[in-house]
Symmetry: C2
Subunit: 246 residues, 2 copies
DNA sequence: TTATGTGAACATTTTCACAGCG
DNA sequence: CGCTGTGAAAATGTTCACATAA
């Protein structure tokens, strides 16, 4: 119904793109499609069917087609999707062509790993600054970046126009760090500390809690164990590949 | 309608508990409630209202009450929930009282951090073994555990009855590691490698992709930027505290 | 009177099944 | 024909608003 023209194409990054408002569930899957597409492109594929891409991304093909239809995608009936074109489309929608600057606060165990995580750079992000409150860590060089004191955050954030802040501190410090980030004008925060952050409504927070994922798995282990006590097959279930919902 | 009696209580861990089948969305939030409850308990609270717990967990109170009602919880009308009792309930449901054994495969940057992550031990998991394919890493001691070669996984998994395997390898090795875990009888996998794993239907896989979260934030940054070009308030939106859906 | 527990309304997401384009 | 794009149906999740119990 609306697929012929939509917003703007990757080429014209200038104007106001009449931004398509995608369902949140779709947005969360786009990065997965993108990864699969890059993989296919490296393998030399020029086009891919919804079936093929869906398999590579671990979803079913109907969902994939529906998702792509929301961005008004350029599939060809009877053929499939142009891999390179779709990569550009998705990268544009996700804003990955803007090479956003990211800073990381807290260089403990996890912060160290994140600072060196190649997946950030390879997917359109520049880690431009590391901060910590601990003076003993200030000055340390990780992956070519020098750790600075958190007091410098506000100044550096402005200088480097940092778009996203990553919090990898203990939970007790996370809210204070979030406040500093917000004061510095950062409007997107990725929080690894196991706590809830209070931020103004214009700031987006996403949370990753490593232990939560384990606990969800534990629930399913517990359930499986309680079921084996009952009669019936042994294995079971509906036979989906990725059994637990993401 | 069914709240008086339900399955079994934490105390009686023996029988088959007529396992309540909770909505997936509810399960995913239970760990968050649990964290908030522990926090409240440490602060000395004996009871908490749905309003109070909801705020501490970052959800609204209606959702919290609905979630807890699914596990047939023991709130008292006019008063609230008994903190200690609710902790026991949720820990029982999640199977956290069983102190599951976890192994970690891949001790690179991220694996190192995970091996030392205190959040695992503190929430009912025992990291009992570390593995790597790289002979140079075998023998290294991390957090009191010696890294073993992946060839030993099958034997060790049986000895230690490992319930959950965590994959922190590069994506190219992840499927092979998953195959080894499955062969060793592990039925729950937490995958940090950015790739899709194929496993039998009785095995649960959950995935954490650090870069995906950044890409979702990037999308919202992109959208915000394209909206500021338009007229209207400036700040905006509906004023929710955690603006981006989890 | 207070705050839980819950039907019923609403919203979102997934799946189905097929029309229609290449 | 094959495969995309999409209405319509089904399933799942959230919010409302109030009956109900302490």
């Amino acid at each position: 119904m609306s697929q012929q023209r939509h917003g703007s194409t990757p080429g014209d990054a200038g104007g106001v793109p009449a931004f398509p408002d995608l369902p949140e569930a779709t947005i969360a899957r786009l990065p997965e499609y993108l990864r699969a597409l890059h993989h296919l492109a490296e393998a030399g594929a020029e086009t891919v069917s919804s079936e093929g891409l869906a398999a590579a991304a671990g979803v079913n093909s109907a969902k994939l087609r529906k998702d792509l239809s929301h961005l008004g995608s350029y599939g060809t009936r009877g053929v499939g999707y142009d891999v390179a074109l779709l990569v550009d489309q998705i990268e544009y929608i996700l804003g990955l062509d803007e090479n956003r600057a990211v800073c990381l606060v807290g260089v403990g165990n996890l912060g160290h790993a994140l600072a060196g995580y190649a997946g950030f750079a390879s997917r359109g992000f520049r880690v431009v600054a590391l901060f910590d409150a601990d003076r003993k860590k200030v000055g340390e060089v990780i992956n070519g970046l020098t750790v600075r004191h958190i007091g410098e955050l506000e100044r550096v954030a402005a200088e480097e126009s940092i778009a996203i802040g990553v919090i990898a501190t203990p939970p007790g410090s996370a809210q204070a760090v979030a406040d500093v980030l917000v004061a510095a004008g950062v409007t997107s925060i990725l929080n690894f500390a196991p706590c809830v952050l209070a931020v103004p409504p214009n700031v987006d927070v996403r949370k990753v809690d490593l232990a939560i994922e384990l606990q969800i798995l534990s629930f399913h282990e517990h359930r499986k164990a309680s079921l084996t006590a009952l009669p019936g097959g042994g294995g079971d279930a509906t036979g989906d590949q990725e059994a637990v919902g993401s």
